[in-house]
């Protein structure tokens, strides 16, 4: 998708960055399956480093911006439910992202045990599934809605503030 509003385009680019990290995590899980991967492997380390930083940071900033700046504007326009639904998904995603980040950092320092890998596998699996569906919903519904919601002036104001916060 491409968008005429800069705010929508920035959120779309965020989604693409998140997908890269999540997809790498998905590939790691698919390759390793039930056997804990070697955390000295450069590809595994890179994936865990991205997961430990990017997911947590990206989603917390991204979610906060959407909730404070966009959903509120949609609600003022009488469009309450889109924000309610996506807030519900954020509530599910944020603790998952934080948990995966913490587990990734621990694994980078100490490696995986069979037990910690099993926990990481389950938590990451749920994060991956929820995140892909969430991004698909935002790409299909939220970002196109911004095209109608934001006028040019508000778009510049919001997108500049968001870009500066990154």
């Amino acid at each position: 998708m491409s968008f005429t509003r800069r705010t929508a385009q920035l959120l779309h680019e965020d989604h693409q960055q998140t997908i890269i990290v999540i997809e790498a995590l998905d590939q790691l899980i698919a390759r390793a399956r039930k056997k804990a991967p070697d955390t000295n492997d450069p590809i595994v380390r890179k994936t865990l480093e991205n997961a430990s930083g990017a997911i947590e940071e990206e989603i917390s900033q991204h979610f906060a911006f959407e909730e404070n700046q966009l959903f509120t504007r949609l609600e003022e326009m009488g469009d309450v439910s889109i924000g309610e639904h996506l807030r519900g998904e954020h509530r599910a995603l944020l603790p998952l992202g934080q948990a995966v980040g913490t587990m990734a950092r621990t694994a980078l320092a100490n490696g995986f045990t069979d037990e910690s890998w099993a926990t990481f596998l389950n938590t990451s699996g749920e994060l991956i599934e929820r995140m892909f569906a969430h991004i698909q919903k935002e790409e299909m519904a939220l970002l196109p809605a911004l095209e109608d919601l934001l006028d040019a002036e508000t778009d510049i104001e919001l997108s500049t503030a968001y870009a500066d916060s990154h």
């Binding site: 998708m1 491409s2 989604h15 693409q16 997908i19 890269i20 997809e23 998905d26 590939q27 698919a30 949609l74 326009m77 009488g78 469009d79 309450v80 439910s81 889109i82 309610e84 639904h85 996506l86 519900g88 998904e89 509530r91 599910a92 749920e126 599934e129 929820r130 892909f132 569906a133 991004i135 698909q136 919903k137 790409e139 299909m140 519904a141 196109p144 809605a145 095209e147 109608d148």
Partner: protein, 425 residues
Amino acid sequence: MSMAGRFLGGAQDRLLPAAIPFRFFVTAAVFHLLAWMVLLLAADEVAGFRGGTGPVLAAIHLLTLGTLAMTAIGASLQLFPVVTRRALTRNWPGHFSYALMLPGVALLSWGMALHQTTAMQLGAGLTCCGLLVFVALTANNLRRASSIPVVAAHGWLALATLFVAALLGVLMIWGIELNILSNRSGLAITHLTLASYGFMGSLILGLSLVLIPMFVLSRSLPPNPGWAQLGLTALALLVFSISFVSEFPGLIWLALIAGFGGTGFYLWQMAKILRSSMRKRLGLPFVLMRASWGFLILTLLLVTAYLAGLAIPNAVSLIGFVLLAGWLLTFLCGVLQRIMPFLASMHAAGKSGLPPLLSDLTAEGPLMLHAVCHFSAVTLCGIGIVADQSLLIRIGSALGVVGAAGFATFAIIVALKVRQGPRTS
């Protein structure tokens, strides 16, 4: 409707009440099962089928109207408001269209199977009224479209071809004797072509431009190839219809070239979307969708070979079978596997008040069973038609029944999970 259930629009209600799309989808799954059952019973007549009433014609209409059109209507009513960013003005016409289509298709198919003219006429009348309600509702939405004009234009082509195809179907059933209708076989082929390549094909070509990139999370496409695909498809359908109705066969080669062109642009775009996909593991739905694209190419090659005079045994039956069961049915089963759980997640309640996981809203076992049986069924029936072997067609149809039962199980499981969620209006 619940708060979560109004996702995609809230005040604008771009998400329909779950009851509308899901009743079309579940009914499509049931008619899918019935279509294979009737084909199993009529296995001896399939290879040599050249038209006329009977169980084979009934099976065809259980598939085309009962399965393909029901799926297309349910999906269009939900997807066009999202694509056009304009909510449907009212929900009741969706329910009304269904209430007309369900008995209409059942009666029409029953009449065709048993050569009952009155049942066919009544069934065709009800079905056409249901389709007209759908056409009016969708046309009103497309008229107000504010985004993605190329997809909306595909929608217009689909509606126009559906209108003409339905009209031709009614004319054939009523047996109106007009000079232009003297060529009945040409009329039947035009009816089939407009309904399949025209209505279903235009919807698939258009909605693929937004659905496939969303499914695979790919980069955006420039609009021009989409317009080229639309123009060539429209040209192919127009020229094909003129050549058959007017009995001027020379034009058909022009139609075929345009058809290959439109298909080429479509498949090129699909390949480009898949190449730029950010999702690597696309799963079973994309096995079906990719295979359906192969069947689409195969139908065009078979038509070309047939027109060029190559001796393909039972070519007409084979082309019809590959077109309907190979391309259209395979594609729609793939799409339904993706959109039914996705839509259900917006209506169903999850544990602890959190939205449910998509994997909790699907049924992988029945879908795998369907995929294995479906591909086996299409292959065996196709070989059976060419070899004129009823036994192969019978075995293939039996596998089709098993696969369709698997798919219906999936559809019913998803629908039940939606019902367990917050009630929708």
